[in-house]
Amino acid sequence: MEIIAYYEGDDSVKGWFSALVTQNVTYKKMPKQNDSKDYADLPAYVSDILYLDKPDLIISMIHDGHEKPLLSIEFASCTPQYQHALQRFSRMVASISAGCPSVLIIPKKKRANNLKDIYTRSTAVEYGSVKLMDIFKTPCFILDWSIDENFFLVNEDDTPYPLIDSDGIKHLKALVSSCIEARQDVNYIDSLAQKKIVHQLTDISRTNAYRNGVPCIERPSGGDKKSQAKLDLVDTEQLLGEISDRSAFHKALCKNAPPFIKERTESLVFYPTRITDHAGDPYVGMIGYYDIAFTRFGKSTRDRHYNLVAYAKDVSIKEVTGVMTKFATKTCPFVDDLQTKNSKMYNYHLKKGCKETKSKPIRIYAELADIVIFKDGVLFNAG
């Protein structure tokens, strides 16, 4: 039985992860970016996970001669308040939507570097993980990063990873073991769902997700206080009318809006101040949460109660067209003739196009947003 771990290069993860399993683990390089030639060598089961975002570790196993994913692991050593925690949520969405269970390891509380503030983990990330698990019927858990009495992280010696002898990592160890057992079964996810640790962690997740008041559109971070994050549920027809009024060009583009978007009577709107600049942070991380927590009822982006709308009213569409023009003229392998050095990506693009290799913010908005409104244009999901 061969276990494979894809990692980003920090050798200390090898000792850390190998301590969690009894099997031998082969460590392989995770491509730094989807447009690098290493990406073309990945098994499709693994590369599909990287379509939307990149978890820190992807664990897979050779089963019946094929390499199939077991689970992905994301480490978040940041302070765990709302936006920081949700920045990592898209990595869980990436993994779960590719059928791979996912865990996010993040402290329950952490002292900020100003040494005065102590932040508590947002209910939102736990609510999002529960919703993600319910929609995709795939295990998805938030685990605790070990902390000391002063709310500093406690790491395993000489590694940047949490203490192995801690509750969160003991849970991870049990989960990995169950994943390996369940992978022997034809139906991996159904078999995994029957395991004791999955039931235990599901109970813990549900308790945490609903502990302080369920997040909702008015209060996306949960609790009973007004949230700083602004979300609006608006009438779709009125919204399309408002967009059309911005310019003749907007109006012409709105006439081409796909029927499935017009047919949803309501739309959930959030207000990013950038789309691709500065890697689209923090909105690129948040859109997955807004989608899963408040619009989605099924695995496909067609399965939505509401349209998901990014209203970037002060942003130029050049943020998107500029990035895509650069991709088309510099990164796209078809710019050059077939050569030895570009043959891998040439062959990859002949088969799959640039769906998974263009820049991350573009991939995420193209996949998840139904409408992206700019000051000088509007984009609609191709469905």
Binding site: K29, D41, C78, N113, L115, D148, L153, D158
Partner: protein, 150 residues
Amino acid sequence: MQVDFSPEIQLVNKLRVELKERNWSIIQLVCSGGQTHFSVTYKCQGKNKTVFPDLVAFKEKQIIIGEIKELFDQKDHDKLIELYDSELAYKIITKNISLRTKTEQDYFSIHYVLINQDLNSIVSSQLAQLVLSEETFELKHGKDDSALNW
């Protein structure tokens, strides 16, 4: 499909091994742009600035704050000099480490260090450098910094 990682990742891996061999306790060691949990916010020309050091480690009374690049990097040099000159940064860093180690704040001295594998790197006046030569890191003292006991 195994391909070498970037020179900076290899530097980080080798540095982690050597820090361990030399009994340094590591609080943060990442490549540029890696995920960090330790940052320092200080004032520079009236503005708040936050830096995320690639290396934060301590041994006995010494703290290393380091920046890692394959070659000598002037921007990293200037960034560390700004930190070096900031009393607030000194207080924040020493307070943070003293809280973690349950020691007095004035127990520590801080050394700002550039880490690279540039054998021809420029000698800095205030900063020490750890330069990877073969398989070990050699300490190049700054002109005015000879106190780091590596």
